[in-house]
């Protein structure tokens, strides 16, 4: 089955500078895909290629199986887009902005009132519906934009940093909305600078300098970045000898001390490695206080990905291309 979005070697350059290079990934229907990366990593350009605003210089971008540049009214009707910045009309009221966007998508006057009210309720803006959009808070403006994006009930929702500048409580609400939309069968492509938000996505596309750093489910990306599962071992009296014992166990990739009585162990498979490590340490006379799986947050994962990319400039980390192709 074809994906809702397919990028195959998509490359875009401006003024001779490659902003997105050889980017390939696929987004299936009914998923939330997070496009993460620091500023200037090519997230917005990727989004614009998906929307048909920027044609790729090389490679191919397909949305609903077609080149988005040739989209007619019917295809555009299926897409909802939330730009990075507030682009609505500050003099118009919250309700009027929503009404305008609904009209742009052809929502008839008979259904518009109900639709607008439903969307205002959804984003909890009913209390400010009469206020000028320029006079509400930044968070409310983002919610208004979200409502405008969803007002025509699109199949594919593309959002460029929807949570930027939004407080953590509201961010959580946004993601609750996104998951609800996903559960209704919609496909969401969301860019974010908050790499921890990758946790909320079904799939993550990590970008670095316009190139794919990682692609896959969050756990898979985490494993990929960390080189496997990470175990956290706490034990009193850890010595260099104990570290060597752990490192010699099959499936152990890396042992890193993080404190006087704590180490982190990267293993191929946490399930198989844990009993082996515990047995070896006991044989060596050390009783572990705690050995559990450690889930590094995505900030840490992302830093690891960047470090790996820096070690191999121009090349995606091992596994990324393979997973992207898959």
């Amino acid at each position: 089955m074809a994906g809702v979005i397919e990028l195959d070697g998509a490359t875009k350059a401006f003024d001779g500078r490659t902003v997105v290079g050889d980017l390939s990934f696929r987004v299936d229907a009914g998923t939330i895909v997070g496009l993460i990366g620091p500023s200037g990593s090519g997230k917005t350009t990727t989004v614009r290629m998906v929307l048909g605003v920027h044609p790729p210089d090389q490679g191919r971008v397909l949305v609903f199986g077609r080149d988005p540049r040739g989209f007619g009214v019917a295809q555009r009707q299926r897409i909802g887009y939330m730009p990075q910045h507030f682009v609505l009309y500050p003099e118009l009221s919250v309700e009027e902005n929503l009404d305008f966007m609904a009209s742009c998508y052809g929502v008839s006057i008979f259904h518009r009132g109900r639709t607008v009210k439903r969307m205002l309720d959804l984003v909890e803006l009913g209390h400010v519906r009469k206020r000028p959009a320029g006079g509400v808070s930044g968070g409310e403006q983002r919610r208004l934009e979200l409502a405008c994006t969803l007002v025509h009930d699109p199949d594919l929702v593309v959002m460029d940093e929807p949570t930027a500048g939004v407080d953590p409580v509201l961010r959580k609400k946004f993601w609750d909305h996104f998951r609800a939309l996903r559960d209704q069968g919609r496909t969401l492509l969301v860019t974010t600078q908050y790499v921890t938000e990758a946790e909320y996505c079904d799939q993550v596309v990590a970008l670095r300098g316009g190139r794919l750093a990682a692609f896959g489910e969050p756990d898979a990306v985490r494993r990929e970045a960390m080189g496997g599962d990470v175990l956290r071992l706490q034990a009193a009296g850890l010595t260099r000898q104990h570290l060597d014992v752990v490192a010699r166990q099959p499936g152990v990739a890396e042992v890193v001390p993080v404190g006087p009585d704590e180490i982190r162990i990267t293993v191929d498979d946490a399930g198989q490695a844990t009993p082996r490590i515990l047995a070896a340490l006991e044989r060596d006379g050390l009783s572990a206080q705690n050995l559990s799986e450690y889930r590094p947050n995505f900030d840490e994962v992302f830093v690891r990905l960047m470090e790996q990319q820096d070690a191999e400039p121009g090349a995606p980390p091992d596994g990324a291309a393979r997973r992207a192709a898959a």
Binding site: V53, H85, E91, L92, M101, S103, C104, I109
Partner: protein
Amino acid sequence: MKELIRIWAFAVKELRTIFRQKRLLGTLVLGPFLILLLFGVGFKGGQVPIRTIVVAPGATATQEVERYRQAFGTGTFQIVDVTRDEPAARARLDRRQVDAVVVLPGDAFDTIYGGHQAQIAVLVNEIDPVRRSWIDYNTFVAGSGINRSIVTEALREGKSPTQQLGATADRLDARAQQLRADVEGGDAAAARGTIAQMRSDTALARALTGGALSSLETAGQSLGARAAADVVGRVNGELDRVDADLNALESSTDPTQRRQAAAQLQNDTGALKADGDKIAAIPAEVLVSPFDAKTRNVAPNEPRYVAFYAPAVIALLLQHLAITLIALSVVRERLLGALELFRVAPVSTPTIVVGKTIAFAVVGGLVALALVVLANRGLGVPAIGNVRDLWESIGVLLVAALGLGFLIGVVSRTENQAVQLAMLSLIASTFFGGFFIALDQLEPFAWALSYLLPVTYGIRNLQDVMLRGAPPEPLYLYPPLALGLVCYVVGTVLFRRQLRPR
């Protein structure tokens, strides 16, 4: 149907944006009207009087000075002083305390009798070419006035001989009647006496024709003087015939022949009397100025200055309003980033253009209605044309101006650029749109610019409809529509280019 919904969305959005800005709304309606009102109250119209000092040389007679003062003082020249001190007068002219110094000739009679024209020097200190022409024209008018008054006076003097000639011709005719009665009654003695009196009268009449001719020659070669001189010449011929009739009477003894000669004499004196009366009846002013040209305005309306300029002001304000509103709207949309939304949304370029045009046409129409009503009720500006013609004129102006404004908005990168281009079009309209300067006063190549400005058509059409009550001419109705259409097509192509993937 959905396309109509989208067009409506843009139209309503623009209208809401404008009506939401109450200050802008006030400026849109009240601003233009206040400008119109200020113009109406503040514009004096006409030409400012030329403040003039008359410099009369020491030898000029007081009566002559008065004649010159009257000639210059009755027109646009406003005599502020009469002096014999020319340097002082010139100093005041240099300081621009006066506009002109009229220096009278010191030896006018000597110069004229010497066969030359006497010069009246009019000194001005003027850099405004329009005002300079105005002073030149008035100098010519005043000079002609002086010449005419002198000639009229000369003719009045020459009129005495002509009036005496008329009286003598009347007497000759009465005596010819008497003579005929004497002849037919066979009273030879009385007849002889009458003949003697008549010979004396003919001699007097000949002397009078000489005097009259001399004074008519003084009057120059005006058509009236020449006509009068012709009649005087004819009188001489008639006097010759009267003398011949008298000779025939005296030389004949045959009663029948004498009766025939007396009858002939009476006929000839009758003709003489008719010509004599004719000469005596012509006034000197008619002899000098036989034609009197007076203008009669057949226009249905003779508006005051304010009323004449009001339609032009309305047209100019509407054009500027339409250009500015739509241009800023397009630029603002781009700066706001909304174009990015429109690129993705199912919104076509024509949808945006038509939606905006409808909104601003409605606003322009409302402002036009308010201005016309306020001008009509508040300033008494006539609006005698029919409503349909008025709306046709306004509609055409708005379409052309909105087209131009849309194009300006599309090519402008910033709001400042759009405002500057709108201001440029306003300045061009003031100079080339027929607002103050009639198009006929421009070189033909400049007309190209004139006819690229919607206001050129708007002024003409609104003046025709409001002041003349005439419908707009097709030549001023279709070209602005075409102009607006071309601007819209070019603007839409460029706008679409800005919206398409890049």
